[in-house]
């Protein structure tokens, strides 16, 4: 009977092939378009060129947008790490009663779409005591909330897998203070898990468009905003940008996958 066979039948194979073609076709089209000199009414372009990539790299706005994206993402993720690490540690180890409440807080960014969050942020900070609308500060705050679920889950899962509660108790019994236990015992042990959630958060922020466009669209250009503006000017150039952006995400997710496997192996082995 087919139940015990691990090899999939041709029906499943062709279905998966169809799915992959469907999912990869838009990507492939962007890829080909980025290298095409002219592409009209044929399955493959008539002639190829690297000119679009050259043009992209020569555009000052591209490098500027790339840097803006990079430093905004790095600052937000670093801030999130600095804030979330101690907070999640304290709640998981010392105040487990608060976990239910935390779960509610953490699921909110999923349930509140970007547009809605932007509306609230604009109204709260366009006037009043903290007028930071349109600046990088409001964006970093918004980014902090976007990656909140990933950071919380990542840190909490790693704390649970290394049995942080028991580790801390042993460290304290051996005479370590709370701070000392946290820095010298817990942090080194959960490091791989933290790197994973950091990279994941980074790739999420790198693709962020809605909040960036609505909060600071006119003033700060990230790579997504730059891409959006180029789409209407030159299609080929825009696909070169999209492809380089996507390659970056691809590399990130491959590292993530490798790390995830390593962490899992380390745990089960």
């Amino acid at each position: 009977m087919e139940n015990h066979r691990k090899k999939a039948g041709w029906g499943h194979r062709s279905l998966m092939l169809l799915l992959m073609v469907y999912l990869l076709l838009p990507l492939l089209a962007t890829f080909i378009y980025a290298f095409a000199k002219e592409w009209q009414a044929t399955i493959l372009p008539q002639s190829w060129t690297l000119a679009w990539f050259k043009e992209m790299l020569q555009d000052v706005r591209y490098t500027e947008a790339l840097w803006t994206s990079l430093y905004l993402c790095i600052i937000s993720v670093a801030l999130s790490l600095a804030v979330m690490l101690p907070a999640v540690f304290i709640i998981t180890v010392y105040l487990p009663r608060l976990e239910r409440f935390m779960k509610g807080i953490v699921v909110l960014p999923y349930a509140v779409p970007g547009v809605v969050a932007a509306v609230g942020l604009i109204r709260a900070y366009s006037s009043g005591p903290i007028p930071i609308a349109g600046t990088a500060y409001i964006l970093i705050g918004a980014y902090f909330i976007i990656i909140l679920p990933y950071m919380y889950q990542g840190i909490r899962n790693s704390l649970l897998t290394v049995s942080a509660v028991e580790l801390v108790h042993s460290a304290e019994m051996l005479g370590a203070g709370r701070w000392q236990a946290f820095v010298t015992v817990i942090v080194p042990n959960i490091w791989p898990g933290i790197i994973t959630s950091t990279l994941l958060s980074f790739s999420v922020l790198f693709g962020e468009f809605v909040l960036t466009n609505m909060l600071v669209g006119g003033h700060i250009q990230t790579i997504q905003i730059y891409l959006y503006q180029r789409v209407n000017e030159s299609g080929h150039l825009a696909s070169a940008i999209a492809i380089s952006y996507f390659l970056f995400i691809l590399v990130l997710s491959m590292i993530l996958m490798k790390l995830g496997k390593k962490v899992n192996k380390g745990i089960s082995g």
């Binding site: 962007t30 509306v119 942020l121 909330i145 889950q153 609505m214 899992n264």
Partner: protein, 306 residues
């Protein structure tokens, strides 16, 4: 031990400050903004009643609801079939397929809209090819219309549905299939009476996530049709941060409506997850390893379509 070192609670202060400033305050501000008069004081339900009496905004709500329901139902059907198919492959192949799906679920928003413009836009590769080959069936297709939007929405719903659904197929054990077939049940009977009922909570839960995802999707529609197609998210965007800032209060009220719909959908997901956990709690932890990898895939896929 606990009473002597209260100072460690200080570690929570930055977290609380960030949550209050950037999560709670904006939501509160939006709520009060939707019910206070233009000058900032005084209670009014004027904006809501204007929305209810405006054909334009009702149409936007209706369009958003329809496109979310359509795209999530199509997404879930395709996702279910593909998720079942994926469990039939060897673990190695399965992981590769999942990685590809996960990767493409990152492909959303502006780049996705753009890719579809290359393929099927007014000068798209396929549009011109079909014209050349004389396939008139596709001549009426317009990417910048309802059909085009549904097509693009379905694209980002399918991998999400697949990634969320496939683990629940591991809750259906091979032994049950064998037992059912020994007792004389056909394949169809097995799925109708045992398989699908077990999957039901997961299906409805995923439907909630997909629906919320569709309602909140802004970037794709914005990049594809700009302000030309009447969707709730697009309306809110142009009311609040558009080129002509005319009525932010109305935008607040619309945003509250949108948030209510997505909150409800995510709540449905939450309830359904609880139920499916209850159903699955009796099963062995044979698949813990594959499930442990899964949360990472899932978390990156669940993110709002950006």
């Amino acid at each position: 031990m606990k009473h002597s070192h209260r100072w460690f609670l200080l570690g929570l202060v930055p977290f609380v400050v960030m949550i209050v400033l950037f999560q709670l305050a904006p939501i509160l501000s939006m709520l009060t903004g939707s019910i206070s008069q233009g000058n900032g004081s005084g209670f009014t339900l004027d904006y809501y009643s204007r929305i209810i009496h405006s054909e334009f905004y009702l149409k936007a709500i209706k369009n958003s609801l329809l496109i979310s329901i359509f795209s999530s139902v199509i997404g879930i059907v395709a996702g279910l079939i593909c998720a079942y198919s994926i469990t039939r492959f060897s673990p190695k192949m399965r992981d590769r397929l999942l990685m590809l799906s996960n990767m493409t679920s990152n492909f959303a928003g502006v780049p996705l809209a753009f890719a579809y413009i290359i393929l099927l836009g007014s000068n798209g590769v396929f549009t011109l090819l079909f014209k050349q080959w004389g396939w008139s069936v596709f001549a009426d297709f317009n990417l910048y219309s309802w059909a085009g939007l549904v097509l693009v929405y379905v694209y980002f719903q399918v991998p999400l549905a697949l990634l969320l659904l496939y683990p629940s197929f591991y809750g259906i054990r091979e032994q049950w299939k064998e037992a059912a077939s020994l007792l004389g049940a056909s394949k169809w009977q097995f799925w109708r009476t045992i398989g699908l009922p077990i999957l039901t909570p997961a299906v409805f839960g995923t439907l909630g996530i997909l629906f919320a995802n569709g309602m909140g999707a802004y970037a794709t529609a914005y990049a594809l049709v700009g302000g030309n197609y009447n969707l709730l998210a697009v309306r809110i965007g142009s009311l609040v941060a558009g080129d002509v800032v005319n009525e932010p209060q109305l935008g607040n009220a619309l945003a509250v409506i949108l948030a209510l719909s997505t909150l409800l959908a995510v709540y449905l997901n939450h309830k359904m997850t609880q139920r499916s956990k209850m159903l699955q709690s009796g099963f062995t932890s044979k698949n813990t390893r594959s499930l442990r990898i899964f949360p990472k895939l899932k978390s990156s896929a669940v993110k709002e379509e950006l």
